[in-house]
């Protein structure tokens, strides 16, 4: 793990699964300041060899982890852990407590969207995206 330093205008990626790692690699290529957080150090193996951002191991449902990952100076946070409830919790913390300018969250259950109402949090639903794509490929109307 690389030594952390105070980063300004940083992109914070929570969860280094396939989506988190892909976003992190892309941002790193674009030369953005990036920090990836995951509970498991092994998941950082998904990052490419040329990844030049920071990684941090810790439990993201603990405020001190988020603060150690410099959430206070983040300009955007992308939350992609495999657990919807963790994602919702972190998204709400990012909005209510730290007021991160841009918040993106991946949720597998479309029903969860009701908890994001009026919070200015952008949500990604893989299920809906796959369904739309399927409809598009079949040539049907959306």
């Amino acid at each position: 793990m690389k030594k952390t330093s105070i980063l300004k205008n940083k992109t914070l990626v929570i969860g280094c699964g396939s989506l988190g790692a892909t976003i992190a690699n892309k941002c790193s290529q674009e030369g953005k300041n990036i920090m990836v957080v995951d509970t498991d150090a092994k998941s950082f193996e998904r990052l490419s060899d040329r990844f030049s951002g920071y990684t941090f191991v810790g439990d993201v449902t603990d405020l001190s982890t988020l603060e150690e990952a410099y959430i206070t100076t983040a300009k955007e946070i992308i939350i992609t852990t495999g657990d919807d409830n963790t994602n919702l919790f972190v998204a709400h913390i990012a909005r209510v407590i730290y007021n991160v300018p841009q918040i993106y969250v991946r949720l597998s259950d479309p029903d969860s969207e009701i908890l994001l109402k009026g919070m200015d949090i952008k949500s990604i639903f893989p299920l809906e995206l796959s369904f739309d794509k399927f409809n598009l490929m079949r040539g049907g109307r959306k």
Partner: protein, 221 residues
Amino acid sequence: MKIVIAGGSNTADYIIKNFKGHSHQLTIINFDREAANYLAKSSKLPVFYGDPTKPYCLKDAHIEGSDIFIALGNRDCDNYVSCLLAKKIFNVKKCICIVSNPKNVEVFKRLGIDSVISSTEQLVQSILSESSLESFIKTMSLEDEKIVLTEIIIKSTYYIAHKHIMDINFPKTGSIACIYRRPRVIIPNGSTLILPKDKLIVLSTPNDQKDIISFVQRDKK
């Protein structure tokens, strides 16, 4: 009252036993097969098997408009989501949530959960109040440790004994709420005389408590 108990096994069992029969209507939801079976067996009440963090499960369990929702799950973020759903979507009047990480008490409150309980924090608080009991000081906290009531018994050697309250220049950060002088309770004003063996009940914030105790216990010069 309509009470919903989500998650937990032993804690849930204990709570159910306490509420059962007091004309309360209990709804028990559990997402653990074993725990659900155990609760059904011990409480002899129907247990709803489902995930309390999913809106459709809470809907099926008919929790709409309940009076109290108690989340006893093992994971803090699960309890958070189920409480939020109960409050925002199902209009439950009061939500009580258990957290395992004591740091989350403040976080949950800021995020809008009414009542948050951390067993670790409670344990620390009772150890602290037990240990201050040793020095003859009893402490009681109100409003989630934001206000404390301190009980101090006056000894004849204290500087403030046999003095009027207006003459002792009592710290502005605290207030003598009442004086217990067996068998009477006195609501003090400036002209009240403090006597040995009086029991002073002092109201202050936890930060100022130490200063006030040392002020009261100051010996005669």
